[in-house]
Amino acid sequence: MGQDMVFLLYVFVLAMFAGYEVITKVPPILHTPLMSGANAISGVCLIGAMVVTGPTEVNLSTILGMIAVIMATINVVGGFMVTDRMLAMFKKE
């Protein structure tokens, strides 16, 4: 396995720790918005889907890529919008 792979593993491990530290403090009232917000961020596979759909010819790979683009965009748009809708409802007295 190449060094670049190990380098990516470094990034992964450090990002997990960063995520853990950043998110630990979320209070229970925000648990659902956190999940739907995470849904939206997990739609980041849209970036990968776009790269896979990149070549101009239509073949099995680009068709699979386009379906991935649709799924990921549903997550991105739906996730951010529903999170915003929910957070708008949280009011203090």
Binding site: M5, V22, M35, N39, I41, G43, L46, G48, T62, A68
Partner: protein, 464 residues
Amino acid sequence: MDIPVYSLVAYLVAAVLFIIGLMRMSTPKTARGGNVLAATGMLIAIVITLLLKEVLNYTMILVGIAIGGIIGGVAARTVKMTAMPQMVGIYNGFGGGGSLLIAAAEFFRYANLTEGFTVQNSITIVITILIGCVTFSGSMIAFGKLQGLVKSRPVTYPMQNIWNLVIFIAILAMMIYLIVSPGNVPVFIALIAVSLVLGVLLVIPIGGADMPVVISLLNSYSGLAGCAAGFVLGNMFLIISGALVGAAGFILTRIMCKAMNRSLGNVMFGAFGAVVQTTGTAGEEGEKVVREATPEDVTTLLGYAKSVIFVPGYGMATSQAQHHVAELATLLEQRGTDVKYAIHPVAGRMPGHMNVLLAEANVPYDKLYDLDDINADFERTDVAVVIGANDVTNPSARNMTDSPLYGMPILNVDKAKSVVVIKRSLSPGFAGVDNPLFYMEKTMMFFRDGKQAIIEILDEIKNL
């Protein structure tokens, strides 16, 4: 793929915006702005990706984005707050599905190239396929259970965990085969099929009330699937973002398990709640007396109480009673009563379910109290009103060592001066055990559907 430096910097900016956005999710005041920051990060990443020189197929990409955007946008605007668990469930699945398709697309691309696969390609692709498939099919079953399309009680059969293990070993064998001799299409298709089956089998034995754990765990998997896709494509931005989601889901999973005093293994493989246990002997049953209340009884009790705590559960969600509960609370407050809400972390079907429903009904969030913040208040409270909650109020979790609930942190509803339980029948909760709270002398049982009960109380209280 060679990504230009300015694009790499832009991806870094996007990743930082995700992290700051998530940091801002830690208080209700800053959360909305945090969400906007994260969305901005995503927009930057999308634009930068469109500008990459390898990305040329604008027709297919933009049509895909338009279709997905319309579906996502309409769903986000129209979904009912009571249906949020299903929505999160299906989105977890799309996250897994997207990553799975990326890995499949890369597999077929390499299969057609003369230079073929490197070991690195093969390993990252098969791992992404496994995580993506389990996340996708598992989430679809979770969605089905929450939507009522699939039986929500645990589905069990003999040697369940042994079968799962056999299937997992078969998957490992196929993965190794594809690493050693890559590009074999039939084995690759079989790997996808069997991994999808594993996702289904892992979620069907998990019951409805354990859904907060499953949804959180699948949330975590959907992030890890994105990470795995990032390894396939060698894209750091995907890896960082996926890891953030993976960590968020992992934290919620831990909080949910802790709130039930059960290990993740027990939730996943214990088929909890599959069998309704019969506790107590017939003699004991005979001695148990229940005090059944009329709407007048409850109203009189509430009308003269100085302090009331509402304890909502899944029953409030199913009967859509949140608006009526909020109306009752406002009326009581106008009469000078001190009103609070006690929310158990696993009440409902996903983390924070009750909070969202009550926020929708315009209940200010500073009236919603977490387990640790409210438990000491019950003994100073005149009336605790339980609406469609059961196991999370069961006092045997505190003192009956043989109860399946023993050790679970509960809301100390039984310490209140009086208790009103709104519930359709005496049937046991998800854990399948009887709740001694129902038979206490200070407890009034008001046998109704949640919403119907509150409507009847509202009718009475206006005449008080």
